[in-house]
């Protein structure tokens, strides 16, 4: 069964900490995405990557950075966590090219910043 795996289901971090959220996919997909999900706001795109070492800003990149050193792994970094970054974070991947396959999402990481 194809998978997108997010390393942690729940995380609690302190304000100011540097936080790493890891995502690994086993489908050999070129594209990977990070979203945050908040009630009433839906899914908002933070960053995405079309290839190794490539990254593009999404709609809300402020306060975040990403790293993609290997095709299967896409990391989201909160440089200095703040309470307004408390959210559900979802990673997704998709193959390059047509949209026929849609996105495959991980189960999410619920991050609480205290």
């Amino acid at each position: 069964d194809v998978k997108v795996t997010q390393s942690s289901r729940y995380l609690v971090k302190r304000t100011g900490e540097k936080v790493f959220l890891e995502c690994v996919q086993d489908m050999d997909h070129e594209n990977m995405f990070w979203y945050r999900q908040d009630p009433g706001l839906g899914l908002r795109l933070i960053y995405f990557s079309y290839d190794v070492k490539m990254k593009e800003k999404g709609d809300i990149p402020e306060g975040y950075s990403v790293s993609r050193e290997k095709k299967e792994r896409f990391s989201l970094i909160l440089e200095s966590a703040s309470t307004n970054q408390t959210s559900m974070y979802l990673c997704a991947s998709s193959p390059r090219g047509t949209a026929n396959y849609g996105y495959t999402f991980g189960s999410g990481t619920r991050l609480t910043v205290v």
Binding site: V4, G42, D51, T98, A99, N100, G102, Y103, F105, G108
Partner: protein, 114 residues
């Protein structure tokens, strides 16, 4: 800014009834319209999708109706069951730099009551 507007935000339907969720878009370059279903504690999963050259697509109890001239599409769930209780997201994709990208609606929380 590309947008997909989804309504209603929440929906309560009796078991056996029809659930209807509507989405509207502005960008005529959108060329793929998927719906995602998300259960609590899980990531969204692709449910059904349609391309704009087709007016309707049916898969089991789930039907997408697409009105290209009105730039609207909707999800109909026939004979709704308690197991259909979930959050539903519509989305639309357009070609972007390197590959396509999905724009999501804000989601509809469906509750099917026995």
């Amino acid at each position: 800014q590309q947008q997909v507007k989804q309504s209603p935000q929440s929906l309560i339907v009796q078991k056996g009834g029809i659930s209807i969720i509507n989405c509207a878009y502005e960008n005529t370059a959108f060329d793929y319209f998927p719906w995602y279903q998300q259960f609590p504690g899980k990531g969204p999963a692709l449910l059904i999708a349609i391309r704009p050259d087709v007016s309707e697509k049916k898969e089991g109890r789930f039907t997408i109706s697409f009105n290209k001239s009105a730039k609207q599409f909707s999800l109909h769930i026939m004979d709704s069951q308690p197991g259909d209780s979930a959050t539903y997201f519509c989305a639309a994709s357009s070609p972007g730099a390197g590959s396509y990208q999905l724009t999501f609606g804000k989601g509809t929380k469906l509750s099917v009551i026995p």
